[in-house]
Amino acid sequence: AQTVTQSQPEMSVQEAETVTLSCTYDTSESDYYLFWYKQPPSRQMILVIRQEAYKQQNATENRFSVNFQKAAKSFSLKISDSQLGDAAMYFCAYRSSPIVIKAAGNKLTFGGGTRVLVKP
């Protein structure tokens, strides 16, 4: 079974600066998908960014970008120009390829989360 590890329980960043959140995962599969979700105090789960393992290019969504290192099984999230609204819990998640694991429901496996604090 896949496991996802987020080693930083909490990170603090000054407004307008950059913070990087770490995520490592364990898998024997070659085709899979990785995600970062944001959970603000409202507790709504919001998809931030998605990465396909077969793509070498790192995904980017506005101020959010990832550093995907497939060989190292590492998937970090960089938040640039941090804003007060970025304060939240951030979860890294792994999903098997549907071609490989169709019958098992393509479950998302989540890491334990990193709390991001933004200082004004």
Binding site: V4, Q6, Y33, F35, Y37, S42, R43, Q44, M45, L47, R50, E52, F91, A93, R95, S97, P98, K102, A103, A104, G105, N106, K107, L108, T109, F110, G111, G112, G113
Partner: protein, 112 residues
């Protein structure tokens, strides 16, 4: 454009009581999931369904039951509530594929 709707948003149960958490989606997603999130922790899968009439256990199924009689609805049943079931419960849905999930807004359940 409702997405995934969960009811209720909050509930307090006494030990030994039962209840059903409702989940409905209007996106014609074939896959649906129930997760629980304990304070300060990540999400753990309780049950999932790949289509109407098909359900399967996740990591933490004990104390719960599900059914999937339609594509839209995926209720979670708690029988004989215990304090260990105090948590926030999320329902989610997706297509069978490569995208992320669409989540409901969660149900905060307290068992006293």
């Amino acid at each position: 454009n409702a997405g995934v709707t969960q009811t209720p948003k909050f509930r307090i149960l006494k030990i030994g009581q039962s209840m059903t958490l409702q989940c409905a989606q209007d996106m014609n997603h074939n896959y649906m999931y129930w997760y629980r999130q304990d304070p300060g922790m990540g999400l753990k899968l309780i049950y999932y369904s790949v289509g109407a009439g098909i359900t399967d256990k996740g990591e933490v199924p004990n104390g719960y039951n599900v059914s999937r009689s339609t594509t839209e609805d995926f209720p979670l049943r708690l029988e004989l509530a215990a304090p260990s079931q105090t948590s926030v419960y999320f329902c989610a849905s997706s297509y069978a594929g490569t995208g992320g999930y669409t989540f409901g807004s969660g149900t905060r359940l307290t068992v006293v």
